[in-house]
Every structure is written in structure tokens, then in C-alpha cells.
């Protein structure tokens, strides 16, 4: 049943019964998705709505990606935050290309199924009078009902008038491209519904709204590249694999359901987690890379064996060799951190923990020195 595939895992599909009517039109639907060019790194979490977009493409519908170049060029609506930088045209273009490159891990780039539009195309043509006309459609009270605004308004935090104009721009994008469906995370529900109101006011058949759930990272938080708890869609295979393996067992079912769109396999959670990591790596890098990443993970992390290849490190002159100084030289550690690792039994020579601080040179030459779980060098005698 195609509709079950289109709405799989969706939180809201509004209004009830309208998607069925749109599908019954018998033509390819225009499925809108707005992308954020200020932070173009797509991680597995941001891939969730893209997976839905792909499901529409698989049924022959057109994914319309909206690049908010106009919005971005205006900068932060409140004018107070430095978090939303004003980008130049070149940066916007570069970010849009970067975004698309990553999005194609999930989306089809068949040109019949993918349309990329910059909203400056229509927004730059609107006048003050047009903005007023647009502003008539939504009341201040309705806008302040939004979760984010309501909290700030109640807390007495300033909300500038221009902030109310941003959702209207996004809504007008739906008018300009004549969207049949708009996808977004649950945090976008209000904006997507505002799009319906505005389309109706402009005499168009309003879009169907489809929201997807938020995928939380291993620490139970929203994925974020600044926090470092994200899994970028184009990260190297071994990194993707390792990061996925950090998910606690309690989140396995959610990840299998949302990311792999399959039921979580029965049996050993470790096997199920390995399977998920292979799925995620294979999607970005192919089966072979996934296989290699799995082997790397088993060798380096699971079996705690040293990797087959590792950097060489030259021993310093002198005998005996002072181990904290050697560690600080070979790895990005301070000597006090090195001492702590030694005391914790986390420093090994050929797999055996070392507790002495000064070691005879002969015991070190040609050995594998390990600091913590994943840092290895092979020591050689050259001074």
C-alpha cells in the first residue's frame, strides 16, 4: 500500500483524509521541504524527513527543495543573536551544494523527481504592501501561540515584529511553488499549518502537512555538530560505525524504526546494534565500506586488538625512557594526563598494562604502545 509507505512513522498528517485526495489527483504531487543553508551538515537525524521525501519520489512525486537564500540573507530575525550569521551569496551557494551532495545519500537526484528552488526568486519581488497583505492572514495571537514564541512572550523576553514575518515568508514559499504537501519535523508544525492558511488566502488548494519525529542521539539529546553527538551522513565509514555503536540498547527500537524503517531484530542487542551501524554506513558508503567498518570496529574496539596499520613513533634518546614524557610526545596528552592513564592501567605495551613510570629501552623497542582504548603507535629505536 503506497500511502502507508508515504506516511510511515509520521507524527501528523493533516488534515485527515486530504493526502488521499491529493494522491487521487493522479498527477505527480509537489512535495516541499525547506532546507537550512546556515548549517548544511546533514546528520542521520535530519535524514528522517528526507527519507519520507524519498518515499514520495519512489512513487513518482516531485521533491521540491527550498533553499531559503532570501531569508538567510536577511539574517537573524531578532537582530540580537550571532548564531544565525548573514551569509554572502557565495556562501549560500556553496552551502546549498554541500547540502545537496549529502542529501543525495537519501534522495534520488533524478531530475524529474528533484526540483531545487531559491526563495529569493519570489520573495525579492514582494513590496511593503505585499507583506501587509500577507500579514493580514495571520493574527498576532495565533502567532504567539507557537511554543517557542509563547514561552518567550510569557517570560517577558523581547520578540521583535520581524520575527513574526519569518514564518510568513516560509508560508509564502508554499504559494510560490504551489506545494501539494509540505514535510518537516514536529517543531515545524506551526509553520507548515501557516502555509495552509496563506495558500488558502491566495486562492490555492492548501498543502497537506506531514511531520516526522525527532531522532535523539545516544545521549538523549537532539543531534548537533557543535555538541558532537551527531552522525553526519557523509562522515567516514569507521566514524559513522563507531558513533552508531554508542547508542544505548534502550534506543535501538526507535533507531531501527526511524532510520532503517524495519522492526528491530530479535535476539542479542549487540548484534542488532551492529546491524544498524552496518545499515547506516552502507546507505552512505556502500556494502563493502560497511563490511570493512564493521571489521575495524570489531578489531579496534570490540576485541581491543591493535589495528593492522598504525603510526610509527621514534623513541627518544636515553635509557631508561620516562613513560609519561613518551606518551605526551606520541599522543595529544599532557604529561599529567599520561600519569593518570598509567595509574588507571589504561596504558599498555603489546596489550599488557604498564604501571612503571620509567622503562628499559629494550622493553620498548618494536612494541605497540597503547593509551586508552583507541590510541596506538608502534615504537621504533631510531632516536
Amino acid at each position: 500500500v503506497p500511502i502507508a509507505e508515504l506516511t510511515r512513522n509520521a507524527v501528523d498528517v493533516l488534515p485527515t483524509g486530504e493526502l488521499e485526495k491529493k494522491l487521487a489527483l493522479g498527477r505527480p504531487l509537489r512535495v516541499k521541504f525547506g532546507i537550512d543553508v546556515t548549517s548544511p551538515d546533514i546528520h542521520v537525524g535530519r535524514g528522517i524527513p528526507l527519507q519520507r521525501l524519498r518515499a514520495f519520489q519512489d512513487e513518482g512525486h516531485v521533491a521540491v527543495l527550498i533553499i531559503g537564500d532570501y531569508t538567510t540573507r536577511i539574517g537573524d530575525p531578532s537582530g540580537r543573536s550571532s548564531e544565525r550569521p548573514i551569509l554572502s551569496d557565495e556562501e549560500i551557494d556553496a552551502n546549498a551544494r554541500l547540502y545537496l551532495e549529502q542529501a543525495k545519500v537519501i534522495l534520488s537526484d533524478d531530475e524529474e523527481l528533484l526540483e531545487v528552488r531559491y526563495n529569493g526568486e519570489w520573495l525579492s519581488k514582494l513590496s511593503y504592501a505585499d507583506v501587509v497583505r500577507l500579514g493580514r492572514i495571520v493574527t498576532v495571537a495565533r502567532m504567539l501561540e507557537r511554543d517557542d514564541f509563547e514561552k518567550r512572550y510569557r517570560a517577558g523576553e523581547p520578540i521583535s515584529i520581524s520575527e513574526l514575518l519569518y514564518p510568513l515568508m516560509q508560508a509564502y514559499d508554499s504559494v510560490a511553488i504551489e506545494a501539494d504537501v509540505e514535510l518537516g519535523g514536529t517543531d515545524q508544525l506551526y509553520n507548515l499549518l501557516a502555509g495552509r492558511e496563506v495558500m488558502e488566502a491566495y486562492g490555492l488548494s492548501p498543502q497537506v502537512v506531514l511531520t516526522t519525529p525527532l531522532l535523539l542521539s545516544w545521549d538523549g539529546e537532539k543531534m548537533s555538530s557543535s555538541v558532537g553527538n551527531n552522525i553526519p551522513l557523509t562522515a567516514p565509514p569507521e566514524e559513522m560505525f563507531g558513533r552508531t555503536m554508542r547508542i544505548p540498547d534502550s534506543q535501538l527500537e526507535e533507531w531501527w524504526t526511524l532510520v532503517a524503517e524495519q522492526p528491530v531484530p530479535e535476539g542479542d542487542p549487540m548484534q542488532s546494534k551492529l546491524g544498524l551501524a552496518r545499515f547506516i554506513v552502507a546507505r552512505s558508503h556502500g556494502e563493502e565500506a560497511a563490511q570493512e567498518a564493521a571489521e575495524h570496529f570489531r578489531r579496534v574496539v570490540q576485541d581491543r586488538k591493535p589495528p593492522e596499520e598504525m603510526p610509527e613513533h621514534s623513541l627518544p634518546a636515553g635509557d631508561p625512557v620516562h613513560l609519561p614524557a613518551l606518551l605526551a610526545d606520541a599522543f595529544p596528552l599532557s604529561t599529567s594526563e599520561a600519569r593518570r592513564l598509567i595509574a588507571q592501567g589504561a596504558v599498555k605495551l603489546d596489550g599488557d598494562p604498564v604501571s612503571e613510570l620509567d622503562l628499559p629501552r629494550a622493553r620498548l623497542e618494536g612494541a605497540v604502545l597503547q593509551a586508552g582504548k583507541r590510541r596506538f603507535v608502534r615504537l621504533n629505536g631510531a632516536a
Copy 2:
């Protein structure tokens, strides 16, 4: 002292001490006043801020009248009211001309002292991005503090986002014309202060704000042409005079202070009221017209004497003449209204009340027939 004249009767002159600084610049100041072209009838009440504007002109400053053609063309901000019609360019121009014609009763039209600008000149050039930039300056909370918005917001009445954009347009007008001072009624205080904030954000020295009090009509209400309690600045002399004479004694001091800008004369309130009416008529029509209007008032209203000239009315055929039918024919009355006036003793022949309904023709020929206080015809015999 010129500053006392400039700020005479002002409710607010903000910020304190700033007008003095502007005056010390030693150049003609640009004094902004926005006019409402949707209702171009100027009455004595609307003349109050114009009187202040004239005081600035008398000191060599420039009155900059802003015609909100752009605002008017957009129509009612809420989109719900039919009270604020969308006018065509021709109607706006005609109303602006009509306004100026009336305003010149009070303003000097010396071209060095009067500048008339249409705000479409600058507002039509603003983009969505410009509106957002403007919207950053004022917070939603600040805007909703306005009396009119606050009441509506608390009452749960819808306020559209576009309504918040109107005060910003007026504020931007101050930027465009680089206003030194803006005048307005007390109900405009918020808008005038918003103009200061916006000018500051655009790097200009903010305008001084000067508000004038509201002049109430004889019924204690705001003057309004739809209510009929107004005194238009270009009404005929006799009408102006008569309407002014309706002011109750309790309002005399306020009117003398605000309109004539003189202390109320000592003594008989009737004499003081006649003096005020003469002042108002003389300002619009000259001393001679004021003199004639005063005489007309005394004759027709005060002494209840018939006017020297009046229309002739031909008696119908037949004898006796039926008085209610004659009255309904001669005046805009129904026969039942005529009967009521007769019963009240309000119908007179040559100044004497008549109570009969049928009168001999001879008694009527050549007589003055009076219905109520101010309606007179001279009857003649021709059928």
C-alpha cells in the same frame, strides 16, 4: 518667548529639553504632520495640531505634510473593516487637494514654509527584507502596549500581523523626510515615539514629539462628520456660527484656550460664546462674514425674527387652505410632522402661533409662514 508659543497647550513635548536643542541648531526645523486622506474634512478639532504647525511656520520652520497615499492604497490593515476604504490614486489626489484647501485656513502656504509629500515616494521602494529590518526595531510586546491594541488583545479580539506594520510605516516616514519634530493628537503618542526609535536605528537624530489635546464637541464627544457634531473649517459662515453657539458654557474656557488661544473673556458667557463664534468664522471667512453671521444668528435664532430674505411659496388653489398640507408642501415635513408642530405652537404666521388646521386664504396671502425656529417662507397668492 517663541518656545512658549510653539508648545502652547501641548500635552507632551518629549524628551524634555530636546526641542530647545533642536531650536538651537539655528536652521529651519522640519516639522512633520501626517494627514488622513481617507477623511479629508477638517473640522475645528482637527485644526488644533495645525495651529501648532502654524506657530512653527511663523518662526520660519518648515511644515512637512505627509499624505499617506501608500498606506491608504493598502487599505484597512485588519482586512475586516469596511470603514477604511481603499482609495484610487485619483481619489487620494482629490482628497489631498481638498485637505490642503481647508488646512490653509490655518497654515501658511508660503512655499518656503510648506512641503507636501506622498509616502508612496519611499515606501513603495521597500522590500520584504527592508520591512524585516524595520520590524527588528520594535518588539511585539511594546507594540501591544498601545492602548488600542492592548484592549483588543486582552479581549481576545483578532489583531492581524499587518496591523503592527502600519505604525512602522508612519515611523519610517520620519526617517525618509528626516523630521526634527512630529506633531499629532494625544492618541498618536505611541506612533510618534516609535518614529523616534526607528530614526535612531537608522542612524538619524530622533525627532521631538509634540502632542496636542483633543477638542471635544458640544455633546462632549469627539467631533465626527458622521455624527454631525463637527464644525468643518470651510462650512458656510452662518452654519459655523450657529454650531459654535451650541457649545455649553462649561466648555467655553477649553474652546477659548485651545481654539482662540486666548483666555476666556470675563463676564457674560453668552457674550463670550458670541466672541468665540466670531473668531472661528473670521478665521475661515474673514471679519465681514463673521459680522454678518453674528447678525444672522441674532436675528434668526436669538431674536427669533425672520431673516431679511427668504424663499417665496405659492399658495395652493382653494379656500380655506389646509395648513398641514401647505406646511408639507413648503418644507421638508410630512403632514403628520406638520400637525405635531402646529399642536406644539411651533407654526407661526407673521410671528404669531397658529392653532387652526384650516385657514382663510386671505389670512395667508403675503404672510411669513414659519415652521420651527429656522424655517421661513413668504406666501404668495398665485396658484
